[in-house]
């Protein structure tokens, strides 16, 4: 089992979700986040005062997944999220020790799907 954290551009979310759907990956948690990478932020100006240390709006997807689905999931995120511009984001993949479905108490792989 793997745990995917992907930071993407907010306007690519629809595209990524659709591609995940096509690959029958339904489990996903989405959060609005602020962040910055090489792209850096756009400085905001309030009454001529430039704000330091600005961040950009991003969207974070979290997906728990069985190993067989890892490659399709990564493909979906990359295809849906890529624009070729700086700031398209990153994907992090981690090993996942356990998954428990609260309703039934199922554990492991069956609990994810």
């Amino acid at each position: 089992m793997k745990y995917i954290i992907a930071i993407i551009q907010p306007d690519r979310l629809e595209e990524v979700m659709q591609r995940l759907e096509e690959k029958e990956i339904h489990l996903v948690t989405v959060t609005n986040v602020m962040g910055r990478g090489r792209q850096k932020g756009i400085a905001e100006v309030y009454r001529s005062h430039r704000e330091a240390g600005t961040l950009l709006k991003k969207v974070k997807l979290e997906i728990a997944i069985n190993d067989a689905y890892l490659k399709p999931a990564l493909d979906a995120i990359i295809q849906g999220g890529r624009t070729g511009q700086v700031g398209d984001g990153k994907i992090f993949v981690m090993n996942l020790d356990e998954c428990i479905r609260i309703r039934t108490g199922e554990t492991g792989g069956p609990a994810i799907g």
């Binding site: 100006v45 009454r47 001529s48 005062h49």
Partner: protein
């Protein structure tokens, strides 16, 4: 008893201000045409040496004009709207999330507490029968002798504040000005002043600073009014007065933790825009209402108020565009408020071209203060109460001495551009007196409150936010 002491003290300080202000002790003339009330109804001040006219008779209940009264009552409501919700949301949107309620609370509680102060003794101090051109006496405390159905009449000057509306209509209209003026100061000390200290300071300031200054300019036989200072709707009394107090408060309280570089931006600009737009609407009551009648002067004040505001909002946007590369929404609304402030003293005396001139100046001068001078000097006028109201108000009071013309208001005066440089000088004196008095007395009051109870919130409280620490509430929940 306590009140009495403040009042005596106010007199003492006022006397000092007059003495130090050397040139202001001119011989009072018998007729004063400067109060807006008089401006609206008085006949042109033509001296008739040969056939002296009979003394005007006091107005009676029959003289109440329902149109005038309706307009003044509506205007009173519009001026209340300027404090809550307009100013509250303008300021509330500009602070950080954790302090939004503290600012709304400060504005709302002022509407409560100053209204009570006003009917108990504030109105009498400001507008009651004159004592030595400095303050009103207490004959009208608890609204004693303030009629609900007949207009005001002053036997000494044989004139009325407003001869066609009941005296209490004039009183309630002026009450709303007394409410908003200390409210404007909030912009300077936002996010770091303890609520209890704020409340005590506001009541003291309203009594010892606002009430006397209102009397000097607008009260019957007040010395600045007698001198001929023009202030139609409150440039000196309201905006310079509050702006200077704001600067003093910002300096005495010191900077917010993290200012200027480690501060979050305004937490809700749409709130600020909502507030500024409502200020624009409410200001028609403030300025056009100051005609105290529903005739041509009210129309003129309404028109120039609108035009100056438009010019100032546009000018600030252009300044931003030229010097900061982008026109900003906060810039447009700041400019518009600056324009409203600047046109206030002039609104009953200038024509439309004068209004455009005043508006353009109000887009440039506060911009320079807020963008260049404040960062250079490093004081933390959090929401620019001084930068916009102090600077805009000073500009407006001076500009009144430039653009005033008797073709708009025969009871007013001509300014420099209409061949009367003396009026500019009078305006400068009135500005100077107000600045010095507000500066000195606000400073003393702040120091006293600081000694007695401490002005500033604890650093930990400031970090957590005053909503939670002063009021045990939060503006926004994160979870349902």
């Amino acid at each position: 008893m306590k009140t009495n002491r403040f009042w005596k003290w106010a007199l003492a300080v006022a006397t000092m201000a007059v003495v130090t202000g050397s040139a202001f002790a001119q011989a009072p003339s018998a007729t004063s045409n400067t109060a807006p009330a008089v401006a609206a109804i008085a006949a042109p001040p033509v001296a008739a040496p040969a056939a002296a006219p009979a003394a005007p008779t006091p107005p009676t209940a029959k003289d109440v004009n329902s149109g005038d009264n309706a307009w003044v009552l509506i205007s009173s409501a519009l001026v209340l709207l300027m404090t809550v919700p307009a100013l509250a949301f303008f300021y509330g949107g500009l602070v950080r999330r954790k302090n939004v309620l503290s600012v709304l609370m400060q504005c709302f509680i002022l509407a409560c507490v100053i209204s009570i102060q006003w009917v108990l003794f504030g109105y009498s101090l400001a507008f009651g029968p004159d004592i030595k051109h400095l303050i009103g006496n207490l004959d009208w405390a608890f609204l004693k002798n303030v009629s609900i159905d007949t207009p005001h009449w002053d036997a000494v000057t044989a004139s009325s504040y407003a001869g066609t509306i009941p005296h209490q209509s004039f009183m309630i209209f002026q009450m709303m000005f007394a409410v908003i003026t200390p409210g404007l100061i909030i912009g300077s000390f936002a996010e770091r002043m303890k609520f209890s200290a704020f409340l005590v300071f506001a009541i003291l300031w309203a009594t010892i600073v606002y009430d006397p200054v209102a009397h000097w300019v607008w009260g019957k036989n007040g010395f600045l009014g007698l001198m001929g200072a023009l202030d139609f709707a409150g440039g000196t009394v309201v905006h310079i007065n509050a702006g200077i107090a704001g600067l003093v408060t910002a300096l005495v309280l010191g900077k917010r933790i993290g200012y200027p570089d480690r501060m979050s931006p305004p937490h809700n600009l749409p709130f600020a825009v909502l507030g500024a737009a409502l200020l624009w609407v409410g200001w028609f009551g403030f300025n056009a209402g100051s005609a105290l009648s529903a005739g041509g002067l009210a129309t003129s004040a309404f028109v120039v108020t609108h035009v100056a505001t438009a010019a100032a909002g546009l000018t600030w946007a252009l300044m931003d565009w030229i010097f900061n590369k982008r026109p900003t929404l906060l810039g447009v609304i700041s400019g518009a408020v600056g324009g409203l402030v600047a046109i206030t003293p002039a609104s009953g005396f200038v024509n439309v071209m004068g209004a455009i001139g005043i508006g353009v100046g109000a887009g440039i001068l506060p911009w320079i203060f807020v963008s260049i001078i404040k960062p250079k000097l490093g004081y933390d006028d959090a929401l620019d109460a001084f930068g916009v109201h102090g600077v805009g108000g000073t500009w407006g009071a001076i500009a009144t001495g430039l653009w005033a013309t008797k073709t708009i208001n025969s009871a007013g005066a001509d300014g420099l551009f209409y061949g009367n440089p003396a009026q500019l000088l009078i305006q400068l004196k009135a500005v100077g007196v107000t600045i010095v008095y507000s500066l000195v007395v606000s400073f003393i009051l702040l120091k006293i409150v600081d000694l007695v109870m401490g002005l500033r919130a604890e650093p930990q409280a400031e970090k957590i936010g005053l909503d939670l620490t002063d009021h045990r509430e939060t503006g926004y929940t994160v979870l349902d």
